[in-house]
């Protein structure tokens, strides 16, 4: 079979809604674009642990500390699960898990914009769980039917746990919303801080990038950035307003005639700066990640069985 025929058969499978598996023949652009997408997802999960872990020692109660710890651990766990899927796809290209991880430090792999932002108050920690994880579930749930089987399967577990993260975040935010005037103000300020990063999270409405086109063509993704952002508005804006809280956009409203939410565009230059790791805390968080990766090298070495010491089976 020629590559032309293989490609035609591959496209026919995609169009029939079949799932692609790691060992199947696939066009290079599918493999390469998927590796990049999953690598960014996996490492964003890992980087997502850093903003929130700052609040583990400062959580207001033991119960809050426990649930936050569980969430932070889940994020790292999601990174592990998705890296596992990505490295299988990268192996035929001679690329290893370590290569995928290292590309975060060289800037070849980006991580989600929201994890470049500071978390100055406990309310910010709550808003991350409520709205950032809410935004993440909106985009990940849209990938549960992705054409790549191994990724779709792993997302089922990831989404189930994100469901817990959202409730954890809502629990914090609802407590603050029903708390003292100072607590409500803290939540209100955090909402205003996170609104723009949340809009940026979904990406520009008009996506013409090569990778976005490829992901759509092969039905890895089926929803556009704007469709996902609109879904996010529909789920969350009415809830924010129902608590008597405001969002920092005077033009934000549901347009009945157009059947869509109207909003003020965020400052896209901020997303471009973040993509170059020039966001507010990009370098600081990458530095933390690099230190933790290097300082844990001995653990990976010990677990690899290459350390020289003989493993004794009891």
């Amino acid at each position: 079979m020629t590559d032309q025929e293989r490609l035609a058969e591959f496209m026919a499978r995609i169009e029939r809604g079949e799932k692609i598996e790691a060992s199947d023949w696939m066009p290079d652009e599918y493999r390469i674009t998927l590796i990049k997408f999953m690598q960014m997802h996996a490492l964003s999960e890992v980087m997502g642990a850093f903003p929130e872990k700052e609040w583990v020692p400062k959580a207001p109660t033991l119960a809050r500390k426990l649930s936050l710890m569980a969430k932070v651990q889940d994020e790292v766990g999601h990174g592990q699960l998705i890296l596992r899927v990505a490295e299988d796809l990268a192996a035929p290209l001679g690329k290893t898990r370590d290569d995928l991880i290292q590309e975060l430090f060289t800037g070849q792999c980006k991580f989600h914009n929201v994890f470049h932002m500071p978390v100055p108050t406990w309310a910010d920690c709550g808003v991350i769980g409520w709205l950032v994880d809410g935004a993440a579930v909106v985009s990940q749930a849209a990938l549960l039917d992705s054409s790549y089987g191994p990724y779709a399967r792993v997302l089922q577990r990831v989404c189930a746990e994100e469901g817990f993260h959202i409730q954890h975040g809502e629990s914090i935010c609802l407590a603050l919303a029903e708390g003292t005037a100072a607590q409500r103000q803290m939540l209100q300020d955090a909402l205003h801080r996170w609104w723009e990063p949340l809009l940026l999270f979904f990406g520009p409405a008009e996506t013409t990038s090569a990778s976005a086109t490829i992901l759509m063509k092969y039905r890895f993704r089926t929803k556009t950035n704007e469709e996902l952002r609109q879904k996010f508005f529909a789920k969350y804006v009415p809830r924010v307003w129902s608590l008597g809280l405001t969002l920092p956009d005077p033009h934000l409203h549901f347009d009945e005639a157009e059947d869509r939410w109207t909003y003020t565009s965020p400052d896209w230059s901020k997303l471009k700066a973040i993509a170059k790791n020039a966001g507010p805390l990009s370098q600081y968080r990458l530095g933390l990640r690099q230190v933790s990766y290097e300082e844990a090298a001995w653990v990976r070495e010990a677990l690899s069985g290459r350390g020289g010491a003989q493993y004794v089976h009891l």
Binding site: Q80, L81, R84, F164
Partner: protein, 105 residues
């Protein structure tokens, strides 16, 4: 480091079910990795880890292997229960149901 496929058994009445894979240097480490990755919430009574290289598998492309030469309807409950139920109605009797009449009763 090797890839281990992970199978979790939730309780003694259900079979081990494949949940994913982990990378580890030793089987015992793979068991710990599996617990940390897949059982942070759910309970279980047993985990199996199997070296991926030791798994013999069919190819997804090999549709022939799963081909059906003929209908298997005659092996199915559904081929009989509707007609039987209709007949029992004449004798004012209900069709016995495995779950309802034998397992649960």
């Amino acid at each position: 480091m090797s890839i281990y496929e992970v199978f979790v058994q939730k309780d003694h009445t259900t079979p081990h079910v494949w949940v994913g894979s982990v990378v580890a240097g030793e089987p015992d480490d793979a068991l710990v990795m599996a617990r940390e990755n897949f059982l942070r919430r759910e309970t279980a009574v047993s985990i199996w880890v199997v070296l991926q290289a030791d798994v013999h598998r069919t190819s997804y492309a090999d549709k022939e292997f799963f081909a059906r030469e003929s209908s298997k309807e005659y092996r199915m409950l559904s081929a009989y229960n509707k007609t039987n139920a209709e007949k029992w109605r004449k004798y004012k009797r209900n069709l016995l149901d495995l779950e309802k009449d034998f397992v649960k009763d």
